[in-house]
Symmetry: C2
Subunit: 423 residues, 2 copies
């Protein structure tokens, strides 16, 4: 029977000889160009970000509302197969970020559809797909050089150390590859990971995944500061994309940062931590105690030293009994650049909830995602100190973890990872 | 230190004597009235539905985009305690559906905040909260009359029978009470369930919960038909709220339906089924096979007998070799009212994904929710037949289940469940 041609996700199949009449609208870079649509997408769902560029999208991109994060284990054994996978992933990601089906393959009625279809008619919804490489892609835990890439392993890409109070689930940690899919519609993010998983069949297998439902950081000055599940504004002091010099200093790897890994120039490192929040305990804590632990007030997110949300916290201001208004074991104190040799992170985390445990306690928290130029100075020392001194740790438990090298963006016609495999 | 008065979730705390200045704007039925907002909510996030009325909201309400469904076990042992819980839940639900904090309690700095806070500034986002009663609220599995309600147990409210191919997880099934929270923002739905769980502390404990991320049915003619994770439009033939006579006939319990349970008049029954979809297998099936299994084409959702999406399927139309164009073991055939003695259901399901299994297969599918007047004729026979004959069952597995009596709505000043406890 007839072949099926796909042009756009809106009216995806043109059926030749089939029973159903489907429009074959031309597609020219946006949903607006489609005339055959039965369900016109509202503007927000039509938003697209570019796949090609100096940096990957999904880092300084204004944080979208929803996340689907996935880590994969490579099952292929040759470097050619790895390249095949990365090329196929880039091609599919580039298409999906434009709101197109994952593949431009001509589909026959007698073959499985090239795209799984649940995103048909939904638009790109601001989808970004960001790829990364875990330490185990370079060397197995036994030290084996799997793909002849060991000499290119960045010195910053080592397993994170054990932090006090870590209780990591190996089924929610690690991975040779990671994919961060962010969009303003969760169905779009899920569709992206599902189709990339499908494309990886025989080359890589899904290791773990995390759905996030509410961004917990702003990455643009145009975004209001959202709240985490403790009810507090989160990410007030986050790096914003508009501060180009700060981004350059703290987020992007520069040429010369690591002589063995110049392929990382223009990339970044992603620290992923699944942080379970003990909400039931928190909810029984007084407002005063909560604000003391955080170092900000709950309503406005203003530092307890006074002023408004975006005013700098003043750690020298004292109150009764000469105690500092912002406690030295508060989250704000311990996380502030002033108390961390000036380092900053670009945080891009999401709230999550994964049901409940047998006692009826919500399995919920913050899926922490931070992009940094040097994990060894920007994340590890701070987290080591926080896990020891942060009074908030009583209400937190790190239950998943991953560190990934995020390569630079791909040039048009190339693929993410090309600088590593061919550089 | 000073007391804290809350008026609205926007600028929630008025701090007396505190360090932060918080506006105390009057609240008069919608976010538009708040002048103190730092982050004005877009219109969609300000949408509200009424809590009080003849029927509970969240049934014929146009299906919102996100779901958080929770089942609870009552731990209280007296009828008074049960009433206390239901009154408190209604009060909190009514407030949250208006975009207010769960409680109007005056909060002191030395007490835990009355509301957990993560919805501050977000608006009601079309939140509906719908309460239901499981069979075990009336009689334990050993037959014990727990609250003196056994004589009022509706004859329609019995444990669902075992259907062939069921593989139910007891940790995702049953419950004395259920709460369906739907909203266009998942953070609002999660906030609602979390605060109701908190209010229930000591009276009822969360048994299981399910997050849904994309509605799979339209309940209004104004809504486009969404797609399920098989990539097909789902719910084309669903009951729409605009068809008042169909809703009255198939959804709402009428006085006289059940002499022992007249308290259910104006209510409905909710069938909840967690249906795992074997997506990896489905994704390897040809488009022809997929469309044959469904009985509709994938692009438009038109019946294979011809026409467009909303045209009636014609089961007598045959093609080559005199075979019917819509197979007799297709989903559309087996689900159609014509082949089910005219019965219909109001479906209100959601797609879900809960991570992946150890083999990297997505744990995903459809959380089926259907409201019916009589489960014994509207759901059980159809599901019994489908689980035996529906060719699609090869790709499905029912992994969770619950049946709940959904009482009528509450009158202003009363609470949901009053007709049961005091009728």
């Amino acid at each position: 029977m007839g072949e099926v041609t796909q042009l756009s996700r809106r009216g995806m199949f043109g059926v030749a000889g089939g029973g159903a009449a489907a429009g074959l609208a031309g597609f020219a870079g946006g949903w607006g160009a489609s005339q055959a649509s039965a369900n016109p997408a509202p503007d927000a769902s039509a938003r697209t970000y570019p796949f090609f560029g100096a940096h990957q999208s999904g880092i300084v991109t204004p944080a979208q509302d929803r996340l689907y994060f996935a880590a994969f284990d490579v099952t292929a054994s040759t470097r050619d197969d790895l390249e095949t996978l990365l090329r196929a992933w880039s091609s599919a990601a580039e298409r999906m970020m434009r709101g197109l089906p994952a593949s431009d393959e001509v589909t026959s009625y007698d073959a499985p559809p090239a795209d799984t279809g649940e995103a048909d008619g939904l638009g790109a919804a601001g989808l970004t797909i960001t790829f990364g490489f875990g330490p185990t892609l370079f060397r197995t835990s036994e030290g084996k050089d799997r793909f002849g890439l060991a000499k290119k392993q960045p010195k910053e890409l080592r397993e994170l150390p054990h932090f006090p109070a870590d209780k990591l689930d190996p089924h929610r940690s690690g991975g040779d590859l990671c994919v961060q899919a962010c969009a303003d519609d969760p169905q779009i993010a899920v569709h992206a990971i599902r189709n990339l998983t499908r494309i990886a069949f025989g080359l890589a297998a899904l290791r773990w995944a995390q759905l996030g439902f509410g961004r917990t950081s702003s990455t643009s000055t145009a975004q209001a500061t959202p709240r985490n599940l403790f009810g507090f504004k989160d990410g007030t002091a986050n790096i914003k994309a508009e501060s180009q010099d700060v981004v350059d200093e703290h987020v992007w790897v520069a040429k010369g940062d690591d002589a063995a890994a110049d392929w990382m120039a223009g990339g970044s490192y992603l620290v992923a931590r699944r942080i379970t929040m003990h909400l039931e305990t928190w909810d029984r804590t007084s407002l005063r105690e909560q604000e003391t632990l955080i170092g900000r007030d709950r309503v406005e997110g203003a530092p307890l030293s006074g002023g408004k949300e975006f005013d700098e916290p003043r750690f020298d201001v004292t109150g009764r009994e000469n105690k500092p208004l912002i406690a030295k074991n508060s989250h704000v104190f311990l996380a502030h650049p002033k108390n961390n040799k000036g380092v900053q992170m670009l945080r891009r985390g999401y709230n999550f909830t994964d049901g409940n445990d047998a006692l009826g306690r919500l399995d919920a928290g913050l899926f922490f995602l931070a992009y940094v130029r040097r994990p060894s100075t920007q994340y590890i020392p701070m987290q080591m100190r926080m896990s020891r001194e942060d009074a908030l740790m009583e209400y937190l438990q790190h239950t998943g973890s991953g560190l990934f090298a995020i390569p630079p963006g791909a040039r048009d016609g190339s693929y993410v990872g090309q600088t590593l495999l061919e550089g």
